[in-house]
């Protein structure tokens, strides 16, 4: 039975706005959820003094799809497809985070070749995600051409994903125990072409923006945050590194063999919109470095674990091995079970720390899956960052934080 509908009144938000709003001295303005520069369905309630922001109250949840609840009703492997839909600019990264959490929970090893391909794809995904950041960020500030260039380059990366997995975005390519299948012929060549082509393009974006007086005016010292505040408020990834803290989970808590690659962690100093842009541009270059090293050292061998208790046998074995048929049947009907324990596995997504908390109950379905998502963490700091700035600056700040609402709301 539904209780009577409660009207939404200002009383509920009374503690978040100033007294001047009640007098009508300041204006309350609704921004979003359908607004092109809120990057999805973010709704903001702004209290404005003229053009200046007195307070900003973010309202999220418009894209809440109950992914965590749904995953509890599926087997470990079948729940993987849900992770693609979470942060839709970092599909491979989400797959990777969830697969690594399962592998840790059930103690499953991954072949060397699969680990290297995972790194290549995760770094390509990072570049693709940063390209969307750059495109939309520049577009929000009025630079239309950057938007077109970035989406042109992103398409090349999505073509590589399509080559491997058959899907541009919802890849579900990284599976517990390895990959769905080996990369096809032409993969290496496509990636090599891309890393040869890309540095010139990154230079081109920089030529368009880095020293552009209009861009610099709109971004320097806009929405700054100190490194102490950033840390206290749970920022990670590029927004944190822009404040000067060189924390990257690929360096500090390496996974999937990241300790074998040489790369730098770029940092800024002011923690403002401009520094976040610089950090992301440099991260794209570092990702290209990692991809190049991984390609040079790509070992031969299997891409799926041969532990048949967790990974289904290849199709070719089903014709002549009874045991393979049994395993195939077991894994695709019941699934594998995981111990009654919990793991927390963090990875460095393009947006920051993406953590998967996974708890098993001894059966084939996860008892609880929780994703600690960087967009959720970063949107929380928006009121603090935007205070005292203009509405036009708020647009720059939101895009510089690069939130994906599918990631925040899950």
């Amino acid at each position: 039975m539904l209780e009577e509908q409660t009207e939404i009144t200002l009383d509920e938000l009374r503690h978040l706005i100033s007294d001047r709003a009640l007098e009508g001295e300041t204006m309350l303005l609704n921004m979003g959820p359908q607004h092109p520069s809120t990057h999805g369905v973010l709704r903001l309630l702004l209290e404005l003094d003229g053009e200046r922001i007195v307070s900003c109250i973010p309202d999220i949840g418009f894209l809440h799809t109950g992914i965590e609840k749904n995953m509890e009703a599926k087997t470990y492997e079948k729940a993987l497809v849900m992770t693609d839909r979470m942060d839709y600019l970092n599909n491979i990264g989400n797959n990777l985070c969830y697969a690594l959490a399962i592998e840790k929970l059930v103690d499953l090893d991954v072949p060397e070749r699969a680990m290297v391909i995972r790194v290549i794809l995760a770094e390509l995904q990072r570049i693709a995600s940063h390209l969307v950041f750059l495109a939309t960020h520049a577009l929000d500030l009025g630079a239309m051409s950057v938007f077109l260039y970035c989406f042109r380059e992103r398409e090349i990366i999505l073509d590589i994903f399509e080559l491997c997995s058959g899907a541009r975005m919802m890849t579900s390519y990284i599976r517990p125990g390895g990959l769905w299948r080996d990369v096809p012929a032409g993969f290496e060549e496509a990636v090599r072409d891309f890393i040869h082509y890309m540095p010139k393009r990154i230079q081109q974006y920089e030529d368009l923006l880095t020293n552009n007086p209009i861009y610099v005016d709109r971004t320097k010292m806009i929405g700054p945050i100190s490194s102490e505040d950033a840390f206290r408020w749970g920022l990670s990834g590029p927004p944190l590194r822009a404040t000067g803290v060189a924390w990257d989970l690929r360096k500090s808590n390496p996974y999937s063999g990241y300790e074998n690659y040489e790369f730098d962690v770029p940092t800024g100093s002011n923690g403002d919109v401009y520094d976040r842009y610089i950090v992301r541009i440099e991260e794209m270059r570092q990702s290209l470095r990692i991809v190049a090293q991984a390609l040079d050292n790509l070992p031969e061998g299997p891409v799926r674990s041969d532990n048949r208790k967790f990974v289904p046998p290849p199709r070719s074995e089903l014709g002549h091995s009874m045991e393979a048929v049994i395993h195939h049947f077991k894994l695709w009907t019941e699934g594998f079970s995981a111990p009654k324990a919990s793991v927390y596995l963090p990875v460095e997504s393009p947006r920051g720390e993406l953590g998967c908390f996974l708890e098993g109950d001894g059966g084939p379905n996860p008892h609880r899956v929780h994703f600690r998502t960087p967009s959720f963490a970063v949107l929380q700091t928006l009121p603090m960052m935007s205070k005292g700035f203009l509405v036009a600056d708020l647009v720059a700040i939101i895009s510089s934080l690069d939130p994906v609402l599918g990631d925040a709301d899950r």
């Binding site: 039975m1 539904l2 209780e3 509908q5 409660t6 939404i8 509920e12 503690h15 978040l16 999220i60 949840g61 809440h64 109950g66 965590e68 609840k69 749904n70 009703a73 840790k104 103690d107 840390f231 206290r232 408020w233 749970g234 803290v245 924390w247 500090s252 808590n253 324990a341 919990s342 793991v343 927390y344 963090p346 720390e353 953590g355 908390f357 708890e359 008892h367 609880r368 929780h370 600690r372 959720f376 963490a377 949107l379 929380q380 709301d409 899950r410």
Partner: protein, 171 residues
């Protein structure tokens, strides 16, 4: 000495019997604490063991077992580069725990999410409203006794059992 061991020893010496259990699984250490001590544990870990980052905060529902809820905290130490888990069991009857906003301000939204999804109250929270679900939503979706959304098929053998928890339009 291992960073985890150091932190565990610190908690044990300061909190005594409030440290209920130490779980080590794979390479992870999780300390199970009594609900009353969460605030002092977080403060100790932040100030004396350099665990200065709240990475994640979530909950698990064990319905129909008791204690029903488990609040999970993941702390990170930037200088030592390790994670540490804290678990706090809560009963099904009026689950509440004090907020850790004063120590880690970013707990604000994470606690709102747990409140929204599990109905756990965080005492002293500055802004305890629903965050993901609409403000007038009934129930807490991530609880285990909350249906996923589909209609369960009733057979003769489980008709009564399902009937008991099946939501009907009531007068």
């Amino acid at each position: 000495m291992d960073v985890h061991e150091e932190a565990v020893r610190l908690l044990e010496s300061e909190l005594g019997e409030d440290v209920l259990e130490i779980i080590t699984f794979r390479d992870q250490t999780t300390v199970v604490l009594a609900p009353s001590s969460i605030l002092s544990a977080c403060e100790l870990l932040r100030d004396q063991a350099a665990f200065n980052f709240l990475a994640a905060l979530t909950a698990v529902d064990y319905w129909p077992e008791e204690p029903r809820f488990k609040i999970v905290y993941q702390l990170y130490s930037l200088s030592k580069q390790v994670f540490l888990g804290l678990n706090v069991p809560l009963p099904s009857d009026d689950p509440k725990i004090s907020t850790i906003e004063s120590i880690f301000p970013n707990a604000n939204w994470h606690e709102r999410e747990v409140f929204d999804m599990f109905g756990v109250t965080f005492e002293g929270h500055s802004d305890l409203r629903r965050i993901l679900m609409p403000h007038d939503w009934q129930g807490h979706p991530l609880r285990k006794d909350y249906p996923l959304g589909y209609e369960e098929v009733q057979f003769t053998f489980n008709f009564d059992e399902i009937d008991k928890r099946k939501p009907y339009a009531k007068e």
